[in-house]
Symmetry: C2
Amino acid sequence: MKTIASELFKEFREHSVSEFFRRNAAMLGYTGKIRSLTTVIHEGVTNSIDAAEESGVLPNIFVAIKRANDSPEHFKAVIEDNASGIPEEYIPDVFGKMLAGTKLHRHMQQRGQQGIGISGGVMFAQMTSGKPARVTTSVGNGEIVQAEVMIDVDKNEGKILDKEKSNGDWRGTRVELEVKDVTYIRSRYGPFNYLRMTAIANPHAQIGFVEPDGTLTVFERATDKVPERPKSMPIHPWGIMSDDLLVLAKHTKSRTIAGFLVAELSRVTKGKVEEIRKLSGVDMNKRPSGLTWEDAEKIVSTFKQIKFMAPPTEGLRQIGAADIESGMRQILKPEFVCASTRPPKVYRGGLPFIVEAGVAFGGSAGKSVEGEAEGEGAETGGLDLIRFANRAPLIFDQGGCAITAAVRSIDWRRYGVDIATAPVTLFVNVVSAYVPYTSAGKQSIADEPEVFAEIRSAIMDVARELRHYLYRKIRTKEKQQRAGIFEQYLPVIARKAAHLAGTEVPDVGKLIEKVAGVKVGGGKETPEEG
Amino acid sequence: MKTIASELFKEFREHSVSEFFRRNAAMLGYTGKIRSLTTVIHEGVTNSIDAAEESGVLPNIFVAIKRANDSPEHFKAVIEDNASGIPEEYIPDVFGKMLAGTKLHRHMQQRGQQGIGISGGVMFAQMTSGKPARVTTSVGNGEIVQAEVMIDVDKNEGKILDKEKSNGDWRGTRVELEVKDVTYIRSRYGPFNYLRMTAIANPHAQIGFVEPDGTLTVFERATDKVPERPKSMPIHPWGIMSDDLLVLAKHTKSRTIAGFLVAELSRVTKGKVEEIRKLSGVDMNKRPSGLTWEDAEKIVSTFKQIKFMAPPTEGLRQIGAADIESGMRQILKPEFVCASTRPPKVYRGGLPFIVEAGVAFGGSAGKSVEGEAEGEGAETGGLDLIRFANRAPLIFDQGGCAITAAVRSIDWRRYGVDIATAPVTLFVNVVSAYVPYTSAGKQSIADEPEVFAEIRSAIMDVARELRHYLYRKIRTKEKQQRAGIFEQYLPVIARKAAHLAGTEVPDVGKLIEKVAGVKVGGGKETPEEG
């Protein structure tokens, strides 16, 4: 029987995830000529630093943006690292298959997570220039593989167009992407500032950058300490939903629900399993595959009635106050710098996080990088807020970010800072395996009350230190001015007085020293430390 | 040889698109307790109205939100329509497979497009309640199919848990989704307002709605005219990129590039193909599969040098001023209503669109629906802006929308409207097969200059009419007041004067009539129309 439906459903089709993101490239950050280029660099650098850390080496990153021809909107972007390299057989999937990667199933604090990033870059390149990605990689076995990779959008698969092998003693990966319809400028939202921010938050990384006009900038590393490898962190019972528990149960290797809960969640001991069994009535000896939704709901609601130890935080990898200070000192050459790393806290009951803040005054601190982002207006002078999540810079969508809100909530005059003019750079890094991003663009942090409060406290920690410094600075300046006045006039007065009195000119040096510490206009002064 | 890479790449995995959206449900609009419930309703209603239009019937939509148990955050959402129904074999894909649908490959003005919507709803239901979607459907062949569908997240496939068939003379589809962790309130951002807005923009639809407390509201249809079916609209050469051309070439049935260009693009004739051949040097007799990137770039750059007829606009389906007025009158019962549909325009050289605006004053126009959205603050009283794209309400992310910007850019005092207090509802609908959304959430329209200008013009068209009405209204009121004064006092004066003069009381009726049109305090007045 012919129905309207049978007519309409002739058109029924299925799309690949690559085709979806080809149509919705803006969802991956490819929106606007400046931002699109920054996103390409971001994806490459993120992968490189993650891979270097996982390989236990100090990252040496090299980035170049070259003009591809005479067009002002056509470039080649090169990102090279010294990390593990990529085994030959994985090249098509790493660069040409979306939702594939080494980081998907692990609860680990890393920059990349979805397995979309670099294949998104390859997609953007081929969409705009028609050119494949050129990948050069070696796992350090003496063999260097060079391949050209494109994405077969219909199948979400990487296609190798060309492959060559050579011998050489090198390990690492180099990706070259040719992109069109993008603009290079040294704006706050451009690649230069992105890399500068990355260097500050990753003082163990050395980042070399060649701009299209050939200018080479090297952001030197400020520490030779290799950060500890990030550690997989099981979810804490307080932070889990029934659906998550079922998904975990499906993929576990444990043979009983009891074993599964102990293995896959943090702070669940055999003793706790017994408590859970009593309260929930769920049979803990069933196979995890036999866990029903009702079981999961009972277990999750039981979790809330049981006391667990707070979630472990040893998997969190903060930068540390000393390294933040080194990083800011290295890049900004400020007069004053100070950083603070807060102790770990949790939000939503079970998700651990750490907030760190740093402040730099003078030197090239403050809003020095000029230029406009598309639609965001020019900004020059005054407090420069640089935001990070797990050391990766957040440069877009700052309006909706909890870090921006925290900065605005502070009365900066109390700290002696005029945020409109002061040469101050404020650094904030939020560290977690579960950063609460507001959207998939991962450019701003959601307003979770516990996270907001910690960000605010961290900023106030460093703002207080800055206030001390600024007060000292003012006092020293006043002192110098006073000393200047006495130095200038006292010898003259002494000379004239001696001349009048007909005596010898006395030595006023000691006197100057003595009075220089006293306020000219009278009154009292607190003793100076400096 | 064992390398670091071989160790790291042991963890390499691939994810399904369902798993991706399970982790990133916020990307599909599932964020916040109020918005999540509205999104569920939106996805169901969108599909229902699209399907009714494609089937050529007047939509009868029934929506119910019922408490699933005693919890204030646990509901059943029901959406039922009288459209084509779904053939049995497509049920798993329609409800359980993301990126699959009947609308993906067509350049057609429709509400849904990605094939994610309703499967996203099914996913959200199973994530929060663990329950399958209950689907009841019939294509009108006398057989009614009832099925329970879940998504196999690992495979991105629909699973039928249970299926029953019965006989009955009914056509349509009913979906029942059980959702948890959501809130029902009659807020601006809740389902009630969403359906009210949908009813205004779809005056041919009848929408019945039962709220959790049992209240039934019927938004009656205001017209019995079935809208024309949307028409597939080929892309105009001015609006295409090289990559798009290659994708089209890959899927075309034409045998030569010449034939392909004529068949797949609008306004390309055989004569134009000859011009393209001469200017680009590309062989037009090659098979489309032989089209290279270089060919595509040459052809696309040639397009810009050739005169084409403006893109066809007959595929655009505006609501029309008369129906907007009926819709607003039906739902808002205003004192005054007026609408304007602008002629078709194009943006980015080749993408046709139409803007329509309507304004209603008095009755239940203005910000009548109170309540707060998560984080957006309460709003009551004053101008209520209701935004639409292809008749689908846009209720979130209004801050970044070109429609909001256009409203703000207007000096409303010039139109006699105090936007803070006036009981005014302003309606704007942007119609296009390519609505320039700012993000995949499809809740706000990007600031394309041509689109912005048209929105502004449409609003000013109706604002002028509103000004005339308001002026007339003020004049009439003043006149009535004046008439009132004379009516009240003139007879008294006449009586007293007659008494003093000892004459008979004169008939002042005619005098009142005469002076009522004259300003009390002296001066001149322009003649009244009303």
